[in-house]
């Protein structure tokens, strides 16, 4: 296979305020025509910097300090700027992560796509516009001609990403670099976009470099993989081979940290420690400090990539034996079957939409939550899962009485908490707490950890100052942080550590229920594993009940005992986790499960590529009858006429609301 781009021993530096960081420390790669290379690693490993180096689009202070990048007959490291400009957008296209900010809000879509053509081809404006329309149709943008004159903010995330792809492909480049192209998108849209990239690659005969942190994406959409850690490639090879026989301990550790691979009864493997500081890289193997197999040799010498078809850089690569070692077993708390701790009945939350004029006329309603009912027993973990716009975050706010429902009730431990004033709820609030998603905004940057953790105790007037101090120290121990953390400020901690602090704060009042709103979505896989293990352990210790809200079904499957699936404000299916996951009754659940990229190339291939087609309808005008019918392959007339009622599908209480369920009713 002829190589399209060959990178050899690439070194990239970034000048910091004090010192220099080296995010890329000697990377060598090849990508052949018509193949997709996956570049995978966690945040900070240097994969994005490598991608940006190819385009020579480094951030201010960045420069390539060594190595070569052969592309065709040019070396991109030494090419002059004019030469690079002729290549960018023309022979190499790049797409980025966030489609909202990647598009100029003040330029029409047509102009932005046509710009690529006008920059590199001798075309008239009319010709460029025609080409823009052609490319937009190619990427599957509906009503492409109309959209030429409209603006990005009117499109959905998936549509915008299609526009970004169109811009990159307008001149039919030889190489496409995609930097986390689907991370900011819903999982069902993600599947659509990844399949689009595959299809376009085949059609245009391109080479593709797919940069991502998601092993599932790599498993299903790449031919070869390179795993990066701390600025170096630790292992690379054909995808199937690498997934079937990982050789490097880091690769193996990543697999074992994935919830999808782990049975609920076992702990996730969480890699101890943190990645090294790249302004002062350690001698020897960069993974040695966190590796269970490390020896003195590893700490002294740096291993080189050895091997031809499946090279890896390690002195003690894995043999077949180590791979079968399973994660340790964990005790899963036994939910006390009995009284429901939380009971939600017919919950409805509508948001009025006003016309923004003086009179503030009501021109519509967003039906964010529509007739949702479920209950959670003590000791259970209820996983509420769904994509953006499904209403799960709104439900989360209703559960902790941050918001009041339009109708329906939320009953906690026998008392109704919906519709009550803050004053009435003040003391009850001890029993249910919220854990936030964003580790960067959930803690007050001006407060020390000690004050942050004492605040709930101070508000609820629990204990004297000395007692509070003791309680706070104990909390830190429980979440696995050192005592020294008490005097530090939030910005001195990593994302995972901040989530631990957030968890400790939620625990401070010894609540019975913790509602966790996407608690691990902003974290890397290995850190995610740490937090999930921690939450499990605390649940056992304190007999906690969790409501775990997430868009990530594989995480929810791992940690939840019961799963509830939401779509456009409705609870479409609910039941015991294993049942919902392995034998779903609702077509949306099925589609959602199919869309999740699994870190197993075999299973990915064997999937019947269904997923969920189409786009999310507007929440202001939801479809009549069953809200999912516009995207459902099984929809018939009755789906438009009648709202489906929940029906039972198993003894253990699996319920789904569908006219054409995938399982027989019980």
């Amino acid at each position: 296979m002829e190589p399209v781009v060959t990178i050899e021993d690439l070194h990239t530096d970034i000048a910091l305020r004090h010192g220099v960081a080296r995010p890329v420390g000697g990377v060598s790669l090849t990508v052949g025509k018509g193949e997709t290379l996956g570049l995978v690693g966690e945040s900070g490993c240097g994969k994005t910097m490598t991608a940006l180096s190819i385009m020579r689009l480094l951030p201010p202070g960045g420069r390539i300090s060594g190595g070569s990048i052969r592309f065709g007959d040019a070396d991109l490291v030494t090419a002059d700027e004019a030469g690079m400009r002729a290549i960018r957008g023309n022979r190499v296209g790049m797409i980025f992560q966030d489609p909202i900010t990647s598009l100029n809000p003040c330029m029409t879509i047509g102009d932005q796509v046509a710009e690529t053509v006008l920059l590199h081809r001798d075309a008239t404006r009319a010709q460029a516009r025609a080409r823009a329309e052609e490319v937009l149709e190619l990427v599957g943008l509906p009503r492409a001609r109309e959209r030429l004159d409209s603006y990005p903010h009117l499109l959905s995330g998936g549509m915008r990403q299609r526009v970004v792809i169109a811009m990159a492909l307008a001149c039919e480049p030889e190489l496409l670099i995609a930097d986390e192209p689907t991370t900011a998108l819903d999982v069902t849209i993600q599947k659509q976009i990844l399949e689009l990239i595959d299809e376009l690659r085949a059609r245009l005969g391109m080479a593709v470099i797919l940069v991502t942190h998601d092993l599932g994406v790599v498993a299903g959409h790449t031919d070869r993989v390179a795993v990066m850690y701390a600025g170096k490639i630790v292992e690379t090879g054909p995808t199937r081979d690498l997934f079937a026989n990982p050789r490097h301990p880091y690769t193996e550790a990543l697999f074992r940290a994935l919830p999808e691979n782990v049975d609920s009864g076992r702990e996730l493997y969480a890699i101890p420690g943190m990645p090294p500081d790249l302004s002062n890289p350690p001698t020897g193997c960069r993974f040695a400090a966190r590796c269970g197999y490390a020896t003195d040799q590893c700490r002294a010498e740096e291993p080189e990539l050895t091997g031809t078809t499946h090279p890896f850089a390690c002195f003690h690569p894995l043999g077949a034996a180590e791979q079968t070692a399973a994660n340790p077993r964990t005790e899963v708390a036994d939910p006390k079957n009995g009284a429901a701790l939380l009971d939600v009945r017919n919950l409805v939350r509508d948001f009025p939409v006003t016309s923004n004029g003086v009179l503030q006329r009501r021109i519509g309603t967003v039906s964010a939550v529509s007739d949702v009912s479920f209950s959670v027993s003590t000791g259970e973990t209820f996983g509420l899962v769904g994509e953006s716009g499904c209403g799960k975050s709104t439900v989360g706010r209703l559960l902790v009485a941050e918001d009041n429902p339009t109708s329906g009730s939320v009953t906690f431990d026998g008392t109704e908490i919906s519709g009550k004033s803050d004053r009435a709820l003040r003391e009850r609030r001890r029993d249910f707490q919220l854990m936030f998603q964003d580790p960067y905004t959930s803690l007050d940057p001006r407060m020390r950890v000690r004050s942050i953790l004492r605040e709930p105790l101070a508000i609820q007037r629990r204990g004297s100052a000395a007692e509070q101090e003791r309680a706070v120290t104990a909390l830190l121990d429980e979440v696995g942080l050192p005592r020294a953390a008490l005097d530090k400020y939030p910005h001195e901690f990593s994302g995972g550590q901040r989530q631990r602090i957030g968890l400790a704060r939620a625990l401070a009042l010894r609540p019975k229920l913790i509602v966790a709103d996407e608690p691990v979505s902003a974290l890397d896989v290995s850190v995610q594993a740490q937090i999930l293990n921690l939450m499990r352990a605390l649940q056992r210790e304190h007999e906690l009940t969790y409501v775990f809200i997430s868009h990530d079904l594989s995480v929810v499957r791992y940690i939840a005992t019961t799963i509830g699936v939401m779509y456009l404000g409705k609870l479409v299916e609910v039941g015991p986790a294993e049942q919902v996951y392995s034998t779903p009754a609702h077509p949306y659940t099925r589609g959602l499960i199919d869309s999740i990229p699994l870190a197993d190339p075999e299973r990915e291939q064997r999937k019947e590529h269904t997923g969920v087609r189409g786009e999310l309808p507007s929440a202001m005008r939801p479809p009549s009858g069953c809200r999912f019918r516009t995207r459902c392959p099984l929809a018939t007339e009755v789906c438009a006429e009648e709202v489906p009622a929940p029906r039972r599908f198993s003894e253990q209480g699996q319920l789904a609301a569908c006219h054409h369920p995938l399982r027989p009713v019980v």
């Binding site: 420690g273 902790v400 803690l443 001006r446 005097d487 400020y489 550590q497």
Partner: protein, 300 residues
Amino acid sequence: MTAIPADGDDAALPDSAGARGGLGRALSEFLENRLAVVGLGTVVLFILFCYLGPLVYHTDQTHLELSDATLAPSLAHPLGTNEVGYDQLGRLMVGGQSSLEVGIAAALLATAFGTLWGAVAGYAGGFVDAAMMRVVDALLAVPALFLLLFLSSIARPNVGLLILVIALISWLGPARLVRGEALTLRTRDYVRSVRLMGGGPMRAVLRHIAPNAVGTVVVNATFQVADAILTVAALSFLGLGIPPPAANWGDMLSNGINYTYNGYWWLIYPPGLAIVLVVVAFNLVGDALRDSFDVRLRRR
């Protein structure tokens, strides 16, 4: 393989070299900025010049000495004398006092009141916010100088009244700023959490919103001082500031301009330059403060 890791060893914590309190860190970053140091130094110099200067360099600023009128700079009078015989250097020192006093006092008053107004409006939201901000808009629509001239024409103010009046007009800036901050901060997770823990709005505003808005407020306050000094000078120039024989830089400049064609440069440039230097100094300090607060919050 090892079991579950607790993130429990000290090695896991990032380097705590910058672990001082918020203020300490902001201060050290501030001092790294050379321009900031220059600005701060200039302000201090002027304060010393205006308050300690007259104690060291005695001049008579109340009794006319017409025989000494408009003398060029010499050893006896390093900056010459003005048209009624007052020593210019001495007058510059004394004149600075009222400029600085009015400037700083008016700025503090304006900032305090404006912050309160803005915080209440921002946190309350809705109609209360709209009403309060319309008042601010209306007061902003009338240019300050016009209002001040009007009030001065009724009665020439003394220092206290001047401070009050300038503050009355300057509080609008901080009000707008703080309201903006309050609106943004209100939706932050850590402010939400206060309510979810059972805390009331007072706690949210005082313990979380106000401290996090402090940066903006302090920066704005320094700019207020600069603006106030300019306003006092303008008023004096237009003949409606503090009445004589009190010295004031704007007043000195206004007198000096009468002699533009006589070439008595020492009557014009010293007061003008003094104003420019002090105002530039405060602006430098304010700019540097803004940079140091910004960087700190952005460093994650």
